[in-house]
Symmetry: C2
């Protein structure tokens, strides 16, 4: 009965990657930070993403409860996005990832 072997096929890391492990979600989360931004503002900041993909990813992040979409206060056609509490809890982790990368992959000696 060797059930002690750690099986990672459905381990916490695998499940976590299934939720946020796409190319653009971490970048969108990072770009939002603790600001509230309109679609267009996000698109300017992440200027290499297509509007299609940005739309798709924003919708998924909204459905997953990581960001919140609401009409902009000064306009009915503009919408704005911001991180929810759930999303904000991710931010420091994202920041730590970038610090790790800065330190280990980008520092010049």
């Amino acid at each position: 009965m060797n059930r002690e072997i750690f099986i990672c096929s459905n381990c916490p890391m695998t499940r976590t990657m299934a939720t946020i492990g796409t190319k653009w979600k971490p970048i969108i989360i990072y770009a939002l930070g603790n600001r509230t931004l309109r679609f267009g503002e996000l698109h300017v900041r992440i200027d290499t993403i297509s509007r299609k993909v940005l739309t798709d990813q924003l919708r998924e992040l909204t459905e997953d409860g990581i960001i919140q979409r609401s009409p902009a206060q000064d306009s009915s056609r503009k919408v704005e996005y911001r991180l929810t509490e759930k999303g904000l809890a991710l931010l420091p982790i994202m920041n730590m990832l970038t610090e790790w990368n800065l330190r280990y992959n980008e520092s010049e000696i």
Copy 2:
């Protein structure tokens, strides 16, 4: 001169994702943890990955300095892998990610 706009197309998060943002790397790092494992042991733990992809990703992680590959001490044909200091620095961040996921996506109320 509006250079204050934060452009994320080559921001820290984008660069970080370029280095570790693939399907299997975070999972491999998590599965290794602070252990030293042989190829076959890793494969048992991540049992849904193909040997081809495991080999590929292990080689990239080795080239990136995140893991270290060395002959096993008790055998010349077996090789073992472990996280480097650089890789170990990632581990707590990975753990935090899974804790986040556990708390926000998997908790039953």
